[in-house]
């Protein structure tokens, strides 16, 4: 199992080698500034000044999508959808799964467990999955963000009683959550194509590969009997969903073509996360 992890890490790290790829990651950024950012990333081995330079450099390619004037239809990110028939089927499957099973179960869970308990559970799992965000940050050259994740972990695991509380957030340590899909995106890897997984929902080729990385870095994966591991995964999903009830309904309610609306919302949202 561990060897698999090493092999995978190598695979993840490999595309990092030709780093100018990062320069292509987000088109409209000033061309001159982008390679510079890639350079500092390569030489960034941890000292303060380089950190600063890296942070400044990053602004150029990784611009907030809202600051780029991209209203034009030509700039719309359209993802390829060669699996559309399968995806639509899975979309309907997930839709029914949500309304018939997930929603009623989550509602029940929500009424039994008050918000502070569920928040504690969420904090605990977020603390546990620090490796995902730590490694994803590092792979993107975001040394400072990785440092923040580490500091959060130390603080929340101790003062925060094994992660159930989040004192780090109150001290202003609340970085955006990174994952492997975003790391791949930051290397300039495109979405590939859109794919809807049963149970897991919308994804793309890139984000699915990223997800495999996330799973390897997730301590829950290594819980011994696989059944228990899957059980914990499911419970975590349930707890997470208890904070998001109503989101999917709103999206669907505002849509005219729900399948297209969800696909586009997923792609736009992921792009924002990659750009951050």
């Amino acid at each position: 199992m561990r060897y698999l992890l090493y092999v995978f890490m190598f695979f993840i790290l490999f595309p990092a080698a030709p780093s100018p790829a990062a320069a292509e990651s987000s088109g409209p950024g000033p061309a001159a500034a982008a390679p510079q950012a890639a350079d500092t990333r390569v030489s960034g081995d941890g000292t303060g000044t380089i950190l600063l330079a890296e942070n400044e450099g990053q602004k150029a390619p990784a611009m907030d999508p809202d600051e780029i004037d991209e209203d034009d239809e030509a700039t719309d990110i359209q993802v390829a959808d060669p699996l559309a028939p399968w995806n639509r089927m899975m979309y309907h499957f997930n839709d029914k799964l949500y309304f018939w099973l997930i929603k009623p179960v989550t509602r029940g869970y929500k009424t039994v467990f008050p918000s502070p308990v569920r928040k504690g559970v969420r904090n605990f799992f977020r603390n546990l999955t620090t490796p995902i965000r730590f490694v994803s940050s590092l792979l993107q050259g975001k040394v400072r963000r990785a440092g923040t994740e580490f500091a959060r972990f130390v603080m929340n695991s101790t003062v925060g009683i094994a992660g159930f509380l989040d004192p780090a957030k109150m001290s202003g340590l609340n970085p955006p959550r990174e994952d492997m899909g975003q790391a791949l995106g930051s290397y300039g890897m495109g979405n590939g194509f859109y794919i809807v997984w049963p149970f897991l929902g919308p994804s793309t080729l890139r984000d699915s590969i990223g997800k495999v990385g996330d799973i390897f870095l997730d301590p829950v994966t290594y819980i011994d009997p696989m059944e228990l591991s899957l059980g914990v995964y499911t419970y975590r999903g349930l707890n997470e969903t208890s904070f998001k009830l109503g989101t999917y309904e709103s999206l669907k309610n505002a849509a005219i073509e729900p399948y297209e609306a969800l696909r586009d919302a997923y792609i736009q949202h992921r792009k924002k996360l990659v750009d951050e």
């Binding site: 239809e73 709103s250 297209e260 586009d264 949202h269 792009k271």
Partner: protein
Amino acid sequence: MKRFFFAMSLFLLILPAPARAQTPMAAVQGSIDRIISVLKEPRYRNPDARELQRAKISEIVREVFDFREMAQRTLARSWRKFTPRQQEEFTDIFHRFLEQTYLDKIQKDYHDQKVVYLEEKKLSSSKAVVKTKVIREDVETPINYRLLKKKGAWRVYDVTIEGVSLVKNYRSQFRKILVRKSPEQLIERLKRRIAEKKKKKEKEEGAS
């Protein structure tokens, strides 16, 4: 005399300030604050006053949102395939659709959320983004407004929630529909959706 000049200059300073020469931030903040105060007003608590409250909010929204610009942008290149009469009708129907969707939601889901106004960025002399976040309990939702300056007034033409632009999202849906369907059919489709939602809402209200 000195005092007169002082008073005069004060007067001149105050006079042109409101209305026209507003900043994008002021346009957004002013409207949202007014909507929130309407939502909070106790006299609209009564279910019978809901319609009145909604009309009031709709009026404020209409002042600050540029629905024609919005409609045109959701259709993008297809806009030109619409006859002027169809453009008019589409704008009207799309406006009604958005109102029905989002005003219902605002009226139902407003529970003392706080709006934090973060910053205003000018993209050009006539384009700007106003960044805000809505906070409820410990959930923060970033909502950004894009504005266009027309005849001296800043008006919103797109809203981005968690990075998802409303205009782009509808554009992807309308694009799909217009591949096979005519402008007339798209308008019909929107009308049907409005009727469908109205029926659903009445059913929900009847049940509660």
